[in-house]
């Protein structure tokens, strides 16, 4: 099926054009999600997309699945309820850096810890876009934002390390420039039987880009091209080289961590049910 046909199939009729600004990476990420779902051959009725609040979270309303545009930061608790109540559903969370790592940060680490089979796609544009460009927990130190007119002094999260430490069993990072890889990462995340997390390095030309003189939307995508390093190549660097690369703003992309050693939450709960119905404690 062509991309044009995929958009016809998976976007709700009459919902396009979307609300995202010119050059916003969220449309590319949302496109990658439908390509991944189609690639896996999932039935639309068996997919639930849950989002929070913010630019990224408008994705749920466009997509023709079972969808929830919940409350700011709360996508993961709602997604956890959907998944635990009906483990047959493929549950995907569309969330942004403010939604997921600030107000929803606690939910993120606990969902990771439980290893519940939901796939989080973090649309990371390093800024609160919908409210007009305030700094987020993912804004690089020294950036300008509407609430950091003299530049930010806070350290951003290394969010992939954070979720891995919290117990996520599939952790990946992609960019909106590397679209084919991004589709593949989302596919792998959905297929993974456990908590999967894909950070998508996206661009906000309107708020982050203007405040930080990043150039055109095309320039911001070129920045992704020039700063993302494939995981294989990244791993070949020694510690000194990696430190240099990091200092230059470079980052690894690909599957960063994966394990099947931890039991998925809803399956573990099925065992609880079996024990409870067997009358044992």
């Amino acid at each position: 099926m062509s991309y044009a046909e995929l958009t016809e199939k998976y976007f709700r009729p009459g919902r396009l054009p979307h609300i995202w600004c010119p050059g916003c990476g969220h449309g590319i990420t949302t496109g990658a999600i439908i390509k991944a779902i189609d690639g896996l051959g999932l039935d639309k009725n068996d997919v639930a997309v849950v989002s929070g609040i913010g630019c990224s979270s408008r994705a749920s309303g466009y997509l023709d699945f079972n969808t929830v545009h919940s409350a700011h930061g709360r996508a993961l608790p709602v997604a956890t309820g959907v998944k635990l109540a009906n483990p047959e559903l493929n549950v995907i969370v569309c969330t942004g850096d403010g939604d997921c790592t600030a107000i929803g940060g606690n939910h993120l680490i606990h969902a990771a810890r439980r290893n519940i089979n939901v796939t989080v796609v973090l649309f990371n544009n390093n800024i609160y876009g919908m409210t007009g460009g305030q700094y987020s927990p993912m804004t690089p130190t020294g950036s300008k934002a509407s609430t950091a007119p003299y530049r930010t002094i806070e350290q951003p999260f290394n969010i992939t390390d954070l979720v891995q430490a919290a117990g996520a069993t599939f952790v990946a990072r992609g960019t909106t420039f590397h679209t084919a890889q991004l589709v593949d990462l989302i596919k792998k995340g959905i297929q993974h039987d456990g908590f999967s997390f894909i950070e998508v390095v996206s661009a906000c030309p309107t708020s982050f880009g203007r405040a930080n003189k990043c150039g055109s939307p095309g320039d911001m995508m070129k920045w992704q091209r020039d700063h993302a390093v494939m995981k294989l190549a990244w791993d070949k660097m020694d510690a000194e080289k990696q430190a240099e690369a990091k200092a230059a703003g470079k980052f690894p992309i690909g599957v960063l961590f994966e394990t099947n050693a931890i039991k998925e939450y809803t399956k573990a709960y099925d065992e609880v049910i079996a024990i409870a119905q067997g009358g044992k404690k």
Partner: protein, 379 residues
């Protein structure tokens, strides 16, 4: 066949939930509601249901919203501080009309307050706790057997009207043990079901309604795909930014409840037939009134009680009628005067309204209440 048991109110709530078909609980520990979570952790998997202890109170109700969307009857339980936290997603449940039952076993507040002495200080928060115009149902059990029956009633109303229902308990009722007769099996108990669409999935509009004003609610995964949002939406379920859409949503959500007060509002009248003076009370605080009224009558004072089983929507008609019949009303509540303001509004000067508010960590004794009755009656 039935079982005769000695149960806490919190335990009876659990039995009522299981009987009503509740198959999902998302919770967080907080006294004096924790027994609800502990017991459901044991009972739900026995009936194939799911229990999850979430990372906080907001997440707990969030999980319930998700489970309800997936077609399960869901419950969460909390107390004061947790009730404050849950207000955020209670608003989402109201806005997007997601059935669930929220048990609030009230304790003294604000903030951490007096853990865990009884209070009814959340009665106004139950009505107006989340931001914005919204309409909600709150029920207040007075006895342990009523905890069982009212929890089932809470599910019936929640599913029928697609509204979150608050079981507005208090520590008196939650932790008190009483005799209760429970059926051996809940299989014969009719379980409330939500309305399902009759049209084909491709014709389904998520918030289109018939004259009941309550939209059908197919479960996620049923083949009916729809969108849930806390944004103001039109009948399609998608956001709509117009003033007309706000008015339409607000009015429909109001009318679906307030056009059905006869079905929703339940009160108990205790010795009101010949009463010259009435007490209005609800929940655990109402327990004192039975004995106080009997003692007053023994002294020749014709006193009765209107007990609000449905606390919200306010039993407006019942209170109006009462005001026209008695010479005075005394509102008894375990706070410094909240529900009394609503009674005063409705009575509107037809008869004197006084307050016996109790907020010293203890429920009133019948003797204390009798003294207050006499004072209010000028005896």
């Amino acid at each position: 066949m039935s079982r005769i048991l000695l149960l806490q109110g919190n335990q009876a709530v659990v039995e009522g939930a299981i009987a009503a078909g509740c198959r999902f609980f998302g919770g967080y520990p907080i006294t004096p509601s924790t027994e609800v979570a502990e017991l459901l952790a044991e009972k739900l998997p026995q009936v194939g249901g799911k229990f999850i202890q979430m990372e906080d109170e907001i997440a707990s109700i969030g999980a319930c919203i998700g489970a309800s969307l997936a077609g399960k009857k869901a419950m969460t339980a909390t107390s004061g501080p947790g009730f404050s936290l849950k207000q955020e997603l209670l608003g989402l449940a109201c806005a997007s009309e997601i059935p669930l039952v929220l048990v609030n076993v009230q304790r003294v507040g604000p903030s951490t307050g007096q853990p865990t002495s009884p209070s009814q200080g959340d009665v106004m928060q139950a009505r107006w706790g989340t931001h914005g115009d919204h309409w909600i149902i709150a029920l207040a059990p007075t006895t342990v057997p009523e905890c069982f029956t009212l929890t089932q009633r809470a599910y019936e109303l929640s599913e029928k009207y697609r509204v979150p229902v608050i079981m507005l308990m208090d520590e008196v009722v939650g932790h008190m043990r009483e005799r209760i007769d429970l059926p051996d099996s809940y299989e014969d108990i009719a379980q409330p079901m939500r309305k399902q669409p009759t049209c084909a999935p491709e014709e389904f509009k998520a918030y289109a309604t018939d004259e009941s004003l309550v939209p059908a609610m197919p479960a996620f995964g049923s083949g009916y795909r729809w969108h849930v949002t806390g944004l103001v939406h039109d009948e399609t379920g998608f956001p709509k930014g117009t003033g007309a859409a706000t008015v339409a949503q607000t009015d429909r959500q109001y009318h679906k409840i307030y056009d059905n007060l006869e079905d929703i509002v339940e009160v108990e009248e205790y010795k009101l037939d010949d009463a010259e003076f009435a007490i209005i009370a609800f929940g655990g605080a109402a327990r004192t009134a039975y004995d106080a009224i009997d003692a007053a009558r023994a002294e020749g004072l014709k006193v009765g009680m209107l007990r609000c089983i449905t606390v919200w929507p306010f039993p407006e008609q019942q209170v109006k009628t009462l005001a026209s019949k008695v010479q005075g009303i005394m509102v008894h509540e375990l706070n410094r005067g909240q529900y009394v303001t609503e009674v005063e509004r409705v009575v509107a000067g037809v008869c004197p309204v006084t307050l016996f508010g109790k907020y010293d960590n203890e429920p009133a004794t019948p003797e204390e209440m009798l003294a207050e009755i006499k004072k209010a009656m000028g005896k």
